[in-house]
Symmetry: C2
Subunit: 351 residues, 2 copies
Amino acid sequence: MSAPTVYDVAERSGVSIATVSRVYRTPESVRAQTRERVLEAARELGYVPSGNARGLASRTTGVLGLCFPDYADPDAEADAEADSDADDAVMLYSDQIIRGMERAARRHGYALLIAASLEGGPESLVAKVAGRVDGFAVLAQTVPTEDLEVISRRLPVVMLAGPREIDHLDHIVVANADGERELTRHLIEDHGLRRLVFVGGDTDSPDAEARFRGFQEACRDAGLPVPDEPALRTTMMKQAEGARAAEALLDRRGERPEAMLFANDQMAVGALRALARRGVRVPQEMAVTGFDGIPLGRIVQPSLTTVRQPIRRLGEQAVELLVQRLSDTGREPVSLTLPVSVVRRASCGCG
Amino acid sequence: MSAPTVYDVAERSGVSIATVSRVYRTPESVRAQTRERVLEAARELGYVPSGNARGLASRTTGVLGLCFPDYADPDAEADAEADSDADDAVMLYSDQIIRGMERAARRHGYALLIAASLEGGPESLVAKVAGRVDGFAVLAQTVPTEDLEVISRRLPVVMLAGPREIDHLDHIVVANADGERELTRHLIEDHGLRRLVFVGGDTDSPDAEARFRGFQEACRDAGLPVPDEPALRTTMMKQAEGARAAEALLDRRGERPEAMLFANDQMAVGALRALARRGVRVPQEMAVTGFDGIPLGRIVQPSLTTVRQPIRRLGEQAVELLVQRLSDTGREPVSLTLPVSVVRRASCGCG
DNA sequence: GTGAAAGCGCTAACAT
DNA sequence: ATGTTAGCGCTTTCAC
């Protein structure tokens, strides 16, 4: 018993396969009576149109895709490490993008195909996704640039976050530098702090680097000394590393800083805990800030001042860009920057 | 410039289309040198295999699907209502299932296609999904039963939560009754409470009904009076309704209850707020419990005692079931019940 | 290890 | 309003 096809339905309802096809594509173009007969036959047979065949014949799928890293989620591991109970409570970066994309895709009549990247090979998951969608979004550092190079010649791809590795792609980033600059300015101007240190991530994290640049700019604007490099770098930007960084900074000889700015929330939360252990009061003796706006930041004591990323909007915008490009293949590639907002909470002395 | 096909790649690399195909399906079966030549040509041409054509020819997609309600998420609306800042922090029911399914699907080499249901018509989103996957999961009350009836004759479908509407489908539920029974038992035996009231949902919510049944069982087991019906029912089970229910219950003449058990967390949280407004101390004068295990429950004051659903496991199990059935079409339909766990927090007098 | 040929189930002209 | 006829781009025997 192989699956019934248009032929089976056509035969059973006494019409041609073209009519069966029409019933499913443009019901109004078929006389009501005929339509009913076809639908009836389809029901009896258990007919479900093959998406593959339709896609092949019509050259569209009605599906948009998303490729995200296995877990380049800064949160993923750190959560388990921190509080296993929280694990299923906290939204990951990818969860939010998925949500944003799904909603937007739905509005445009598309479904969403999602896949985390695995290892390479000509038959990687990316290739699978690419072959099954009308266009897709890629989180930075998920897909080898060379693969993207090839794929993006055949269908719309939008790059999310990270650097613009391929210049003919649409590209969306959040205002990392702006956000950190504004946050730093707040510490300097509104809280009167002078001795600030920035804890960064790996040099190959474009986000962390951009945030550091924002920090530098704010220092320059305020006439403070401008460091060439972050005071410290961590590799994974997790809580444990943030904690170690905070302690290392306390133990440095010379004047103790008044504020520690971390390249992400995870590290900042780790630092908060380390400082508490060492009896350093936050924010009285030390201001602490993060970046991202993770839920955990609202719960910790003191609550964490940070810069919130509009992650869901990232997903929504990705869909908009894809849909646009699908209807206007010739459009110039765009590069969007989504605004971020400083969230002032207790750890800097506000709230 | 239409997209290059196997023919283009074959021509350019001087092999047959069969060999090109082999390079992508079973690389080892092609001489390394030949393979390189093909891959090279593919790269130059920007060749991406068409998932549709592959699917059509091979009769499989390598994709699993999930259909979920537009927002039958009990949380979705209530969140916005409660705390807009929390909106992007809180995982929805569907987010968690998606996460669970994606992970499990990935392990088995599948990608995941997700779509929220819209209105009907022969060309509903469900049909789209159904035609593009090897099998899929459906959240209860998402897809008209009759559609499912037809579709499930042609590919594996697993039903998530809700009643078992179609008996030849695999089906996964959480132990609603067990959880509520255990929770109720805890209040009775460990806290010595006697006057308990249960606030339910609409009669057509199988989950809420099952929870009420658990409540009844615990009452019976303890030799307490067994109500035929919940003390009160709400329609949407949202916070505002929970608050109103709590107040209505306080205002009833007769002895005030010692504990209010709500059919979900949202209502319980609303009740907590209402009770605070009325000056009723929780848990000293009134114990309050929920069901679901939403993140908000950990944050409210006092923290909410509840029953946690293993939502992510629901998604993982769904994939396992689909994969199983894909490799063993003949297997009898199964009905799994996932265990839940009582989470004792402050609102019942623990923690 | 590689090639030739026959579909897979549909849509898209074009007829009628 | 409905039927006819080509493909869409691949996988799959079966040869060689």
